[in-house]
Symmetry: C2
Subunit: 215 residues, 2 copies
């Protein structure tokens, strides 16, 4: 099967030097890509900037901003049976990107932000994807409630939720402890390495493929 995976943070430029980003390391998404490739799937990895070596045997699509990632996903999702959106995509970007480095002036500065396109939310409606759709929810509070809301709003088959306020399983950690949030049930997975969870999750999504959503 062909599995599209997004991973890492996005960078939203303020000027040629500064940008908005987030603490996603990409480790979970890359672990998924690695696991999927090892199991013989074709993997398309659409990644924001990370420091991780690209796993062997995958199609790697580097991106920077949420807009870049949206375009890449829009193009590649048509080829996928399963789409796993593990990237931490910025919800907002600066309304304008300054062409030159902004010089400091004044004690305060107001940065106007505008909404980014919603990549996960576009999968069903705009991209017409009818394969297995998996979202990620990195939360700091109300983890289950937020994940369930995301599942319903975005038309996901599964949302993988974790509490990134916990230092032991946060973005930069090599471990994670996740909840599998389905429309009708929540399944906690034991704390484990992201590598191990990557393999577990690929098995889970393989089991969700039915003839109707196998394109």
């Amino acid at each position: 099967m062909t599995i599209l995976i997004t991973a890492g943070p996005t960078r939203e430029a303020i000027d040629p030097v500064r940008y908005l980003t987030n603490r996603s390391s990409g480790k979970m998404g890359y672990a998924l890509a690695d696991a999927a490739a090892q199991k013989g799937h074709r993997v398309i990895l659409v990644s924001g900037p990370t420091e991780i070596d690209v796993p062997d045997g995958i199609d790697f699509i580097p991106t920077e901003s949420a807009a870049d990632m949206y375009q890449a996903v829009e193009y590649w999702i048509g080829k996928a049976d399963i789409a796993i959106f593990a990237a931490a995509v910025a919800d907002y970007r600066p309304a304008q990107i300054a062409e030159q480095k902004i010089k400091k002036s004044g004690d305060t500065l107001t940065l106007e932000l505008v909404r980014n396109p919603d990549i996960l939310g576009s999968a069903r409606s705009t991209f017409g994807f009818n394969g297995v759709l998996v979202g990620f929810a990195a939360e700091t509070e109300d983890v289950e409630e937020n994940a369930l809301g995301k599942l319903e709003r975005k038309g996901c088959d599964l949302v993988v939720a974790n509490d990134v306020s916990r230092k032991d399983i946060g973005f930069d950690s090599n471990e994670n402890e996740i909840l599998l949030v389905y429309p009708d049930r929540i399944v906690p997975l034991e704390k484990a390495s992201k590598h191990h969870l990557g393999h577990q999750l690929i098995e889970v999504v393989e089991g969700m493929i039915t003839p109707s959503n196998h394109q």
Copy 2:
């Protein structure tokens, strides 16, 4: 001699997940630290978050925000004969850090920023440093003019200026091409590896030590 070097970007938190930062890789500052240590100096490296391995034989002070870096420099600069500020410190930080991940709402968002403390500008006036003071100016336009202004305003003995709009010598590059901007003259150095320039610059600052500013 004891050389204090700052390196890397800073991260200014918006909430537990998002932050403002810049494209500094830390490569130039770490090359300086490495060169100084190899020449037998005591090196105190105050660094923002980078992906570079810490060179052997140096005192490493990890920091994250500009406020962290300010505090670290305030403490350590009293021990230094030479201070080289190669870090790309954020001029502004969010006025407030949200305790929980900010949920998206609305098509726009306004981020209020406030000025960060000026670390280089505090060296002479606030910290009372009278050793050799070297600043860096990463510019995208009017490189010489901006570097000279910085030299004068901050009381530097030398400003190392480069044009980060050039892709071949930018933040993430392993090469750089710099101007040495002194109060009375500008000396261009040939494009070279950051490693090589690190050694050249350490020789330059060694030559600037006089009995009066050797503490």
